[in-house]
Amino acid sequence: MRSSISNFKERLRLPRLFFRKPSREEQIHGGPPLEFERPIPPAPWRGIAVVVTIVVIAATTVWELYCRSLGYTPTLNDNEDLWTLRRRVVAPESIVIIGDSRAWFDVDLDELQKGLGKRPIQLAMGGSTAFPVLADLADDKNFHGTIICSVVPHLFFAPPGSPPMERAEKGVKRFHNQTPAQRVSEYLAMPVEGHVAFLKPDDLSLEALLNQLPIPNRPGALVPPRFPPTFKLKIENVAHECARNALNPGAN
């Protein structure tokens, strides 16, 4: 294969002054010539690409069907980019819910909307402290709405560097520093996540699946509680039902 510079030279017919082969003196410290061409190993690359595509589509389809058979359905992933998306919606007069999983799971936005007249914006994060979000909203000169804050003492007063604090800070930091690439990535990911069930980093990523391996841990290992597959989906549904029953006693 001819190098791109050679092709360019031939097409433009530029003087040899610029594109002549470098002399021995011109070569940097006796190194290779200035032109460089990567060797491309001879192989039927087009055929290989077709077979790889077919294998990947087949494997992905089988995995998707298996995950759906376990009870997983397509949902948006709850990460700092999705949180940032909601944070951007906060208007000066908004009602905002912040805090931990109590505020996240135990609040029915439909019911609150009926009672309050407008739909609150859900900014609570499971396993996080509300403190950084509260501070960020307090610093926001445009915001003078209402905040509903869930306070669980050991989470709200979590020390700096602890996982609850880091989780909340990560979201706030992403809101302020989100790059255009991260923003575009989120907009591209949402339609895919809305149709593909196996995109569940907490449950079905390679890392999460490796964590499910029955390997006994060494004594004293700091291991988070191990939940069975689909536990999170079930607990969300249960929380939703509990909130409905509490608001409409005797409905069921």
Partner: protein
């Protein structure tokens, strides 16, 4: 120790991986870029390591700093000082932090020590035997890992705590990594070192050329599936910050 080995693997896969992405993307547009990594964890000695790791930076440092400073065409002490100055600046290139300075100075010192060893032992017959070369390779890897502590740690307190842990000062410290994670780190580290040793005198293209077509297809399919099933987060590459 597990954390340092994990970081040694992470930074290699992160940086070498996106260098390959850049090489591949450029190739689709007709631009031929040179390798940025050549199986660095099989390096025997630190000058060999820097001929294999971040080659674009090390070549730049060699051509525009080391050689203008006189390179090795000066007295031995001055040549050693040149090495330390170049690696000090190479450390600073990564960020304005004292930890990067120490990382650079450590590598500068390694290069100086290696040069002394070469003068003393290179002519000896036993120095070029396989066991000594393998031992030198593992010593290089271990010293590079010690330097990674300063590259990764946000401050010297954490760096000294990490080093203390590596050298057995905290036998009853928290067991932060799970057994599964330790097994993963161990197997990936052994795998990457074995692969680098197997490939250390070869080019990636040569290996592809030697493989049967079905094996290229199988490896390509496995890698594409791994990308999809891993579900990587949207975190940027580590080296984007430099």
């Amino acid at each position: 120790m597990g954390g340092v080995l994990a970081f040694a693997g992470q930074i290699f896969f992160d940086f070498a991986g996106y260098s390959l992405c850049a090489i591949g993307a450029a190739l689709t547009l007709g631009f031929h870029l040179k390798d940025n990594f050549r199986f660095p964890y099989a390096a025997i000695g630190f000058s060999d390591f820097w001929r294999r790791w971040h080659i674009s930076l090390s070549t730049f440092l060699r051509d525009y700093l080391y050689i203008p400073l006189g390179g090795n065409q000066v007295r031995p002490f001055r040549a050693a000082l040149n090495l330390v100055i170049v690696m000090f600046l190479g450390g600073l290139w990564h960020g304005a932090a004292w930890t990067f300075v120490v990382w650079g100075l450590l590598h500068g010192s390694y290069l100086v020590i290696e040069r002394v060893f070469r003068v003393l032992f290179e002519a000896k017959r036993w120095a070029s035997t396989l066991p000594v070369r393998v031992l030198a390779g593992f010593a290089t890897y271990a010293a590079v890992c010690v330097a990674w502590v300063f590259f990764r740690a946000p401050d010297f307190t954490i760096a000294s705590r990490m080093l203390g842990g590596m050298f057995g000062q905290h036998p009853h410290g928290d067991a932060i990594l799970t057994t599964r994670e330790l097994l993963q780190i161990g197997s990936v580290t052994i795998g990457v070192i074995a692969m680098h040793w197997a490939m250390r005198d070869n080019a990636f293209e040569t290996a592809v050329m030697r493989l049967p077509h079905w094996a290229i297809t199988a490896i390509g399919s496995a890698m594409a599936c791994a990308i999809i099933f891993t579900q990587g987060t949207s975190n940027a590459f580590i080296y984007f910050q430099f």
